[in-house]
Symmetry: D2
Subunit: 337 residues, 4 copies
């Protein structure tokens, strides 16, 4: 950690800070520049709170040198983490395809979509039971009944299921009924929820918040990891920008960056990112070639009558044709799909 | 609601959409332009899901004419909502000052700050017991013990207390111990939490999410209002932009805009917005003159040793001098402070 | 164009607007909703200024139905535009590779890089002579001398050259010396410059501004097109977001969107977008699979001693290996590279 | 300047960097941490290009300690710069009011607005002759004729005039006809234009770019200052965010920040920031209380027929009433208005 003192700070104030720093359990070194006096803190600086240092009038900036996350950090865990669910692997050269409707609507609907995505080659079934909707007047999901229908679809197809958890109180039910728990973008910094899933041993898909930095995503993952659950899969799903044509802006550079910084698998959700069905195919293909460990795609047998996100859902035929393209690309990129 | 069809859509597809629209319980009108066929939907369009319409291949855009929130909408409730807490009013020409430390740290600390802000003229005491922190390794608050200390401070000073609720499971405790429940920016779209506080009759301060639009903030408020709790106070606390010098960018234009769109009171948190103590005073004054109904300010007796946000906390003396400036401005602006 | 009147507007004000609208040379239709009165304007609404309508107190919003650009609009020009430069095609299934150093530094340097990128299969040589630098103290380019050296490199390799124009006063020189004129992101809305290049018949690469929407990019292109020059190639080079790890956030969804809205070719600059050399390869590959018509890549024989952007430049060997990957992908995607 | 080496970098690479650094004319110090080796560069690091250092494989980050601008930096010029135009002062406790129409439209219009704003107490007349418009089909200004009409208005009222310069080729005309040259937001990084006005001795208002950081604004100012012209006035006019209700988001925190970092005067343009006339008054008042040195306001005698920006223009009566409020606030804030 680097602490830069304000120019023209009195020697006495500098010494006061030196004393403070030395009480933090780290070694203190310094560099005296022309205008700036700089301290370097050596040791475990994870527990040093930069805000507290900044509260000293003489301190100009505090700069982290080491990343603030530890368990998620590739520096201390160089090999890829591979998450295994019902015999299927995510990460480490395996490209996972998670597909299904935005929300579970009926037994027929989820069964029909589940069969279709399985036939096309998807490895996992997604389906929302609890739905976070911007408006309280929008369809909020079938809730517990949705989970029940998901289980039926799993039974029929053998596909492990992914569904979004929105509150700690539903966790026991999710542990029992769901194979991968999804934490949505809006809950990425719902820390009580993160801690709660961290105490389970369920695989978790953690979606990047709409305006979260990569560092914040990794720190949110660290909340889960620090509780003992190391089955975390990160998910890029678009960030908010000033561009209005697409719902969000898919940040594909985040994939190679995250893979550099962390050993956790990272997947892409092109359906929510663009918000338009005809953007899903090009973005899914791009996700594969930039190095993602999988994708999550919305598929619906009847998008026009879907209870949510119909405009961004693929019909089963289009999904099948996307799978063909992905398989071709996976060969070139040496990924197992 | 306006539905714009894609140019060159076949008549037959247009008729199909007309039939669909007429089944939504609204009246359908149309305008045929040179390249575009446009439908107008008249009636209660709040229940019409634009995404479902967009899933039709012939539909180009769907445009809301009416705001998607109803109970929060000033159109249907022209007079200002005034929230009353322990005889103190927020909204309707009253300027509320909420002050206190970022987090409750000890009995002495909270008592000392509480006395100081009361002496300077604050009407409410803030203090975090449960703290949402970006890193799992940062101080997470005293939790239940913090609430206990807050109660002691209330007893001593008579100031009603505000504290942040992070999970539904702590709600019963908050109903008993706290006068105003705060929902933090990171939980603005934690819908299960919003519904839960909506079922209580506690006043709620709802902070705008880091990248939420004004419309989304009002829809989040609508979640609370729709459950029957109309004691909602909105709070602007800075949005995320590319600017790095300040922690966030305080969006002061949002104040007059929100007051135009909604009847709910709206306050400003200049401490979190800028993230630097010397920005608090100018931004607090600006909040008053743009028409805010109050401010929420971090005050700490010993910022350098604060367990969080020391760098943005005012010392009691500075807070007192800020109060003097605010009182002077309040006179000009005809606000009760 | 749709004009929405404020709720509760008096009939008399509505009639006043109707009269105004009817004077604009368009047909006026209306739809009377429960709270809103809506006008539809039919005809050539490109010349109608929405701001002027909004200045009427009774008007709530003005919504464009038709895109505001005409010549760039695919609606009126369905087939792809193909720009041809020295027998090389950009657009319409051809994938152009433009490569070279950020800036021309010396005869040896530009010759060396030019030979290397040619050998690897690039079709065009880029090289900055006039450099827009954030700091006035950074290297500003060799200016006229740089153009001279570029010409020598073209002579040796036969590669057409691309260089950035920063001011109208240098245009005559560029017309003579350069094959494609580049307008940089910072000058995307330098309208006098756009008009000036619009009056030439030189191909132009127009880079998207750092915070420009796709619509604004197409309107900037329209400035050039409207002057008679239809040789415009658009370039996505990353937009500004809150993410700090990468220099900018490459918006790859913009590629399929632009190709839907416009017939102009669109290329991608992954070097400037990410700002880090190891991001160039994955992003370049992603650009190809999302449907871009080409890429622009920074290559330098000695990045460590480059006078600018060394950190994002590929060495010739890496560029050659990237070309191999691109050729493989081009086969699958049926692109000529 | 701080240079952080990648963890696990070999000693030999570290030594190579040390040698490179020592050739830059600065003193090199180092701190060896647990995982990171850190170099501190002492001396004039303004000429050291961080990108070139980053091009070395072993270098992880390069961190500026000293601000990259020098002449604009308050550190080296502690007292406020005061710009004087025709006996009127901007900066140093003086609050300048610049008002007038978005664009000059006719002799009557500019004369009428000029008289009105003078009567209300404005000190300067603004009026666009060359207009940067997003669409090539929008009114582009009266150009040279507009300058002529501005001069007539100046003659009649004695108000110094401000107008926007869009291209170097018009500079001689502006030097003769205009009292303050405005560089618009879209041209903030049009470096050839900045250099050109830097060679004159005309006062310049430099508007912050739509997505420029405060640091970039100060570096753009540095381009002008470095050429010898120290009459620079900065202008905050709203930045681009995801919020759609307002045209841009006015960044009022930027005012105290800029005044901390620089000695240059800084004014606010609330008309362009919000894009709505009823936002102008609250934002103008807020600008004064956060410490701005002035405001620039659009005023039009007939907004409904204005050739541009009618929706954000104040009528003369409203402007006069705004002036009354500002005078009252100026008294409290000890500003000369």
């Amino acid at each position: 950690m680097i602490i830069v003192m304000k120019p023209k700070t009195k020697q006495e104030e500098i010494e006061k800070i030196r004393v403070r720093l030395s009480q933090l359990g780290c070694e203190v070194r310094d560099i005296k520049g022309l205008n700036y006096h700089i301290f370097g803190l050596i040791g475990n600086t994870n527990l040093v709170d930069p805000d507290r240092l900044l509260a000293n009038e003489g301190v100009e900036k505090v700069i982290h040198v080491q990343e603030p996350y530890k368990i998620a950090n590739r520096l201390f865990h160089p090999e890829d983490t591979i998450v295994e669910v019902a015999g299927r692997k995510i990460g480490g050269g395996n490209f996972a395809v998670i597909a299904g409707p935005c929300s579970v609507e009926s037994e027929e609907q989820i069964a029909c979509v589940a069969e279709a995505v399985k036939a096309a080659g998807a490895g996992f079934l997604r389906g929302g039971a609890f739905k976070p909707r911007t408006s309280p007047y929008s369809f909020q999901g079938l809730r517990e009944d949705g989970l029940e229908l998901l289980k039926l679809a799993r039974q029929k197809t053998g596909l492990p299921v992914v569904s979004e958890l929105m509150s700690v109180e539903h966790l026991p039910r999710f542990i029992e009924d769901v194979d991968i728990i999804q934490i949505g973008a809006r809950n990425m910094q719902n820390y009580e929820l993160l801690k709660a899933v961290g105490k389970t041993n369920k695989p978790v898909i953690l979606k990047r918040g709409l305006s979260s930095t990569i560092e914040e995503l990794l720190l949110a993952a660290e909340y889960i990891l620090a509780q003992g659950n190391n089955q975390v899969i990160l998910c890029e799903r678009g960030i908010r920008t000033f561009e209005k044509y697409t719902r969000n802006t898919l940040d594909l550079s985040a994939i190679p960056v995250i893979k550099k910084l962390s050993h956790l698998p990272v997947i892409v959700d092109p359906s929510h990112a663009g918000g338009i069905w005809w953007l899903v195919e090009p973005l899914a293909k791009a996700a594969l070639v930039v190095g993602a460990d999988g994708i999550m795609i919305e598929v619906h047998n009847d998008p026009v009558n879907a209870k949510c996100d119909g405009q961004q859902s693929l019909k089963p035929e289009r999904f099948a044709s996307l799978m063909d393209s992905l398989k071709e690309l996976a060969k070139i990129e040496h990924k197992n799909i």
